[in-house]
Symmetry: C2
Subunit: 366 residues, 2 copies
């Protein structure tokens, strides 16, 4: 497939994903297009609902680019939701005002599990159209990241039917009927791989798998029910995008720090980390094989700018001296939050963070 997209002007993020030296530490923020931005709220109001926003190509393009207008971020991420895939399976996703996501059909019994199938990708056409539209609108400014929930994380929502604070229903199935759980996870694996490949074909320049709920699993269960299926998704992904360039793959397991050694064996380029993990320790555990992404606590953004700057420096310093040799790959860090940005974040505090990361990471390379 040939591409008519504009050439990339800022490749710092993609270089860091591939462990190539960069002039500064690139940065983007999970959920950077979101409710903390008044312009996002205005677009969402026009769209009427969250899914109205996510399924409209023009609106999705508009909100994806909004944070880039305010801040010199080094990547854009597709505006969408991790639950588009189970929605396309026919489970009926909705977002009630002030609540989290909810499915009309929860997947809890043998018959419902048996009926489950990877969705027709045509039902997700709005996502791929958004990817292409965003890519065009970016016009080469920064790369575009596509994403999906992990098979396990999708299964949590599909079985619980909504968010949960104890994961009782999904874990009950896991322990009582592992056969049903494995079938759901295999369907999700096929669906997620196809979904991400279609995003790559539509123009995504990197892809990220959000294993938001991997960290709630017991040791042993994590490896069997989350990590193994993430590995299968990775094995099914295209390695090059529409420009013929390598498409880096990022895996983020919230609360996954204890399993970092095992995650180091995944066939991906980048591991995302939450704020509980020390980046220096992570670098020592993962070794030279992967770039690391993360991991400041999003709540730091409620402190005054001077404190934000100090905490950003701590995170940069915890990773340690960045790689500067352009002749070979080496340890690289992509700055990010350890989880999505809070809707209550003051937008000017984000500016302080971006400024601090760019400035201090340049100094660290001197």
């Amino acid at each position: 497939m040939s591409s008519s997209f504009a050439p990339l002007q800022n490749d710092t993020f993609l270089r860091a994903c591939l462990r190539q030296a960069t002039d500064y530490t690139p940065l983007w923020l999970m959920r950077q297009a979101g409710r903390y931005l008044p312009e996002y709220c205005a677009t969402r109001a026009k769209a009427g609902s969250f899914m109205g926003l996510a399924t409209n190509v023009d609106y999705a393009t508009e909100v994806t680019l909004q944070p880039l207008e305010r801040y010199p971020l080094d990547a854009a991420i597709l505006f969408s939701d991790i639950l588009t895939v189970p929605d396309a399976m026919g489970l009926g996703l909705s977002f009630a005002q002030g609540e989290g996501p909810r499915f009309a059909t929860a997947v809890r019994d043998e018959a419902t599990v048996a009926r489950l199938a990877a969705p027709d990708l045509d039902k997700l056409r709005y996502v791929f159209d958004a990817v292409t539209s965003i890519r065009k609108a970016l016009n080469g400014r920064v790369p575009l990241i596509g994403f999906s929930g992990s098979p396990w994380t999708l299964a949590c929502y599909m079985v619980e039917g909504a968010g949960s604070d104890d994961y009782r229903l999904v874990k009950s199935m896991l322990y009582a009927r592992p056969d049903l759980m494995h079938r759901i996870l295999q369907v999700n694996t096929d669906a997620v791989a196809a979904y991400l490949n279609a995003q790559i074909d539509a123009g995504a320049q990197a892809v990220m798998i959000f294993d938001s709920w991997g960290g709630v699993l017991a040791d042993g269960a994590f490896q069997q029910f989350s990590l193994a299926y993430t590995a299968r998704v990775l094995a099914g992904l295209k390695r090059t995008g529409v420009d013929g360039q390598i498409v880096p793959r990022i895996v983020f397991t919230k609360g996954g720090g204890l399993w970092l050694e095992e995650m180091g064996a995944l066939d991906c380029e980048v591991l995302g980390l939450d704020w509980t993990m020390n980046l220096g320790k992570a670098r020592a555990i993962v070794g030279a094989s992967k770039a690391l992404q993360g991991n400041i606590d999003p709540n730091v953004l409620f402190a005054p700018p001077a404190a934000i700057e100090a905490e950003a420096k701590k995170v940069l310093e915890s990773f340690g001296r960045p790689h500067t040799d352009r002749s070979m790959p080496g340890p690289t860090h992509i700055f990010n939050l350890g989880h999505g940005i809070s809707q209550y974040t003051p937008p000017d505090h984000v500016a302080a963070l971006v400024q601090a990361v760019h400035a201090h990471s340049r100094l660290m390379r001197k």
Copy 2:
């Protein structure tokens, strides 16, 4: 102080806390006196409210002993709540039906922080009276564990005013006004040490510090705002109880697995672990200095008895071969859940767990 309590008949739990060999792996369950037991619900209905139950010595004694009537558990734990201490500080604790705890006064501004003081222990007399009453009612069957929330965990509730899913308010204070946070934590430290010492004087034979929310902190912040204050509490604790016996101290940080090496340096006898940590790895990290307590996922109890048995064996085997040499201390394991038991647990599934742990751990020593 001399004791008139009956001699202890089952010292398996206390021996394991002190890393002494035992015939089997002792077991108790966090929140073992609770809503999953119909007899508990009946007593609570008589008491009218949760605090009505906790503050009535006879009711607190009754519900503490209920799980021991059903299951051959190796320890009893005081029936109470971690929020009794901030309640006694005058913050006005209440439990609305179907919701979590709530404080009438949240500690969020400079003036409220300045007014905060460790409570008059007379306001917690009902807790100490319950300890003595339970100890008498136990009549030496098994040891009684006293407990408190950690300074950080109490601070979370005091600042948030209730439970939280993002800890935004308490972390905002931590990052924006660390001086206020340190003052709250120091007041809590003094209060928790005095509270636990009074429980020891009233008859508690072991004490446990629940750092339920330590795991939500960032690396660096955990050490400074949670671990350091837990260490100060430990430094202030009595070492012997009313019988002249050593009182083992257990520290449990939910989500604290990544900091186990640093927790290994705490001056306590036992570290509690949640289900994300592999017990064999934990044993290797902590070394010979401490017993380990935990860590099956409470959701395993929703599986059929055969699956519960298999998972219990996995947890026992993950710790590895237990210490059997009675001439010297060595690695010991106290079986527990990785967090409190769910209110939806079928009581007969608990019986299956207790039976499996006792039987299989005897076999492992053969």
